[in-house]
């Protein structure tokens, strides 16, 4: 048994922190909210330099051949500083393509970051919901996945339908997800600039998240031969990645809150000495540590126990989402009134929290899947 980080993993994390420290990400996030369209730096070249686009692609195809946990370490660093790097979309897409023998030729460009992909959120069935579904454009009702019909050539399809709130879709070279071919889930990839593909950029509340509504109108796509388990695993991978990103933000929220609680005095003593403040901060730590433990679970399960990966990744998302909510709110309240002002960084974390918790099915759907997976196990036992 060994759940400690390897030397390589420590190095990966430290290197990521170093790379990201070259950018003024928080200032950029605030300026972007203020309407400066050029505020967000293009961090993709730095990501390419660091080798992040190819984290999950094997070395034979130009990638780093690392696993989900390594990707989560990088995502955690991005979350710490609210970096706007399109890895949340790119990495699950490369996971599907890596499992698709007929997509092997595209991998080298995606690994180097020469081209960028975005994952079209496609949620697999569970013990209650028998159908695959997409994220709805509004409301609670899960959306239908787009339909695929055979195209002019073998291995090609024509796609019709919509994916809403697709992370990192604007500007992506390729879009990768699941469509229904005669009701059967199949992996599909379309080029971002193909005819019939329309990506409408949407921004909601948090300027650091690039999102797009993707409409497919008789769009030409490639039918991927990834097995259905891989298509489902991509959804769970996306859950684990956004969980890691969220927990990174919680780390910063906790560090800033603790520092302030030591330095700010009221009634003649540091506010961190009051139980009410201290207990809130230990609650943030408790949720953060629980989330970290589940990242280890998810990181191990993806290869070590694939049948448990849906449970592990969903549990990580469930805990991380709630930790982010609690951590971001605590950061504001510990700072008092100033924590709720535009100039402070706390609202930027709060905005990230509000939006992140609603993307990719939302935190609540992840909690629901945890219950479903465990009850299915209990019934089978």
């Amino acid at each position: 048994m060994n759940l400690a980080l390897s030397d390589e993993q420590v190095f990966l994390r430290e290197a990521a922190r170093g790379t990201l420290s070259r950018f003024q990400t928080l200032e950029a996030a605030r300026d972007a909210l203020d309407g400066d369209e050029n505020a967000l730096p293009d961090m993709w070249p730095a990501a390419r330099e660091a080798g992040w686009p190819g984290l999950l692609i094997d070395e034979a195809h130009g990638g780093a051949g690392l696993d989900a946990f390594d990707a989560m370490l990088v995502m955690g660093e991005c979350g710490r500083v609210l970096a706007a790097i399109p890895l949340l979309g790119h990495l699950p897409a490369t996971a599907i393509l890596s499992d698709s023998p007929n997509a092997a030729e595209f991998l080298a460009d995606l690994a180097s970051g020469e081209r960028r992909a975005a994952y079209l959120p496609s949620c697999p069935p569970d013990d209650v919901h028998e159908r695959w579904s997409g994220d709805p454009e509004d409301g609670m009702r899960r959306a239908e996945l787009p339909s695929a019909v055979p195209g002019d050539e073998a291995g090609r399809v024509r796609l019709n339908g919509k994916f809403a709130f697709v992370p990192d879709a604007p500007g992506a070279d390729a879009l990768v997800g699941v469509a229904l071919l005669e009701g059967r889930p199949v992996g599909v990839a379309v080029l971002g600039d193909a005819s019939g593909v329309e990506v409408e950029p949407v921004r909601r509340y948090d300027a650091t998240r690039s999102l797009g509504h993707v409409s497919l109108n008789d769009a030409p796509g490639v039918l991927l031969d990834a097995p259905e388990e891989s298509l489902a695993a991509a959804w769970h991978l996306a859950q684990a990645l956004i969980a890691a990103d969220s927990l990174g933000s919680v780390e910063t929220a906790l560090e800033m809150s603790v520092a302030y609680a030591k330095e700010r005095h009221t009634f003649g003593r540091a506010i961190g000495s009051y139980q009410a403040v201290k207990h809130s901060l230990t609650e943030v730590l408790r949720q953060l540590e629980n989330g970290r433990s589940l990242l280890y679970y998810a990181g191990w399960a993806r290869r070590g126990a694939p049948a448990e990966f849906p449970l592990a990744a969903s549990a990580a998302r469930s805990v991380a989402g709630r930790a982010l909510d609690y951590g971001a709110r605590t950061m504001i309240s510990v700072h008092g009134g100033i924590g709720a002002t535009w100039e402070h960084d706390a609202p930027l974390y709060f905005r990230r929290s509000e939006l992140s918790r609603r993307l990719l099915g939302g935190t609540a759907l992840a909690s629901d899947r945890v219950a479903g997976e465990l009850m299915a196990q209990a019934t089978a036992a």
Partner: protein
Amino acid sequence: MDLDDTPEQAAYRAQVRSWLDQHAGEAPVLQGPGALEDENEIIAARRVWQGKLAEGGLAGVTWPKEYGGQGLGPIEQVICGQEIARAKVPGILDAIGVGMLGPTIIAHGDDEQKARYLGPMLHGDEVWCQLFSEPAAGSDLAAVQTRARLQDDGSWRLTGQKVWTTNAQFASFGLLLARTDADVPKHKGLTMFIVPMDAPGVTVRGLRQISGEAEFNEVFFDDVALDAGAVVGGVGNGWGTALTTLMFERVTIGLGSEGLGYNSARFAAAIAGDPDGRRDPEVRRNLGEVTSELLAVRFTGYRTLSALQRGQIPGPEAGLAKITIVNGAIKAGDLIADVRGPDALADDSQWAYMISFLPGLKSAGGTEEILRNTVGERVLGLPPEPRLDKGIPFSELRAKEGAPA
């Protein structure tokens, strides 16, 4: 990063499993058909079984070999526990003695004490209890008032009361924290003693809890005579000795939490049995949130083990896992009662028992509030609460609290 045994660990696991395969038939049956029912018979059978486990090397895994242990590490201890659970046989009866009090005596006891007490403790011939908490000293353990007074001949006289004492009703000995000097600050005037539970003046009374059952005891000491050799770790050093016990308590709780039965699979099974509850979105969301946290605790335990394996001592953050477990189980019990209705509260219901047990468990081993203080100060480095007891002789403190002189 992996969860698999190393080759050495796998060999150890195989060795433990093989012993259990051969001897499981000799274990007392505590559940199901043919189960023992009489409390005294159960205790007697479990003592014999502990002796066999000790003979087989399955008790005192981390104890040094010279005291009858295996001289192995915490990982092997966990592997041994996993295999005992897998074999569906009871573990040792005296987990408090072997897990916490024995290691304290090994660390602080003299040669005579080690030679006299450790062997019978390990083999279950003499069961031990922990006499620390008092009605007015729990989280603030150094406030104990049980008083040991030195006699002219070097012996001691002990008077006072302890509470929340597990196994006291059949224990042979207790490890007791007493005040030996009230005129120095409270942490300084304490001494640890070994107390024979059959000594004249010791009275044990069952302490009934919410469930109506008495799983703990109160123990009264009325002018109990102790000889000079009863002191463990030196007069006035009781607090340091107690901290050793508490450190082993944290390790025991941290590594044994799943053994409490508050786990995600059990709670999910309870809801899954109700066809409507298992499809209800609100129930599912609540269940998912609670079970996610309980799953996390399992992996926090693995992280603790990894740290132990690297020679690090688990810190007070293990207390956070206890908070998660207790509060998670409370929420799960509430949810199960919501779904199953009043039948969940029937006299013979496992859920009624759990629901009754948890409010007390919230304060066991230190209240949730004191745990959060400790973690906030030691892990996050937050400034401590201002204290009004520092450097003040205990007798003055008591006077300020309005105690009779």
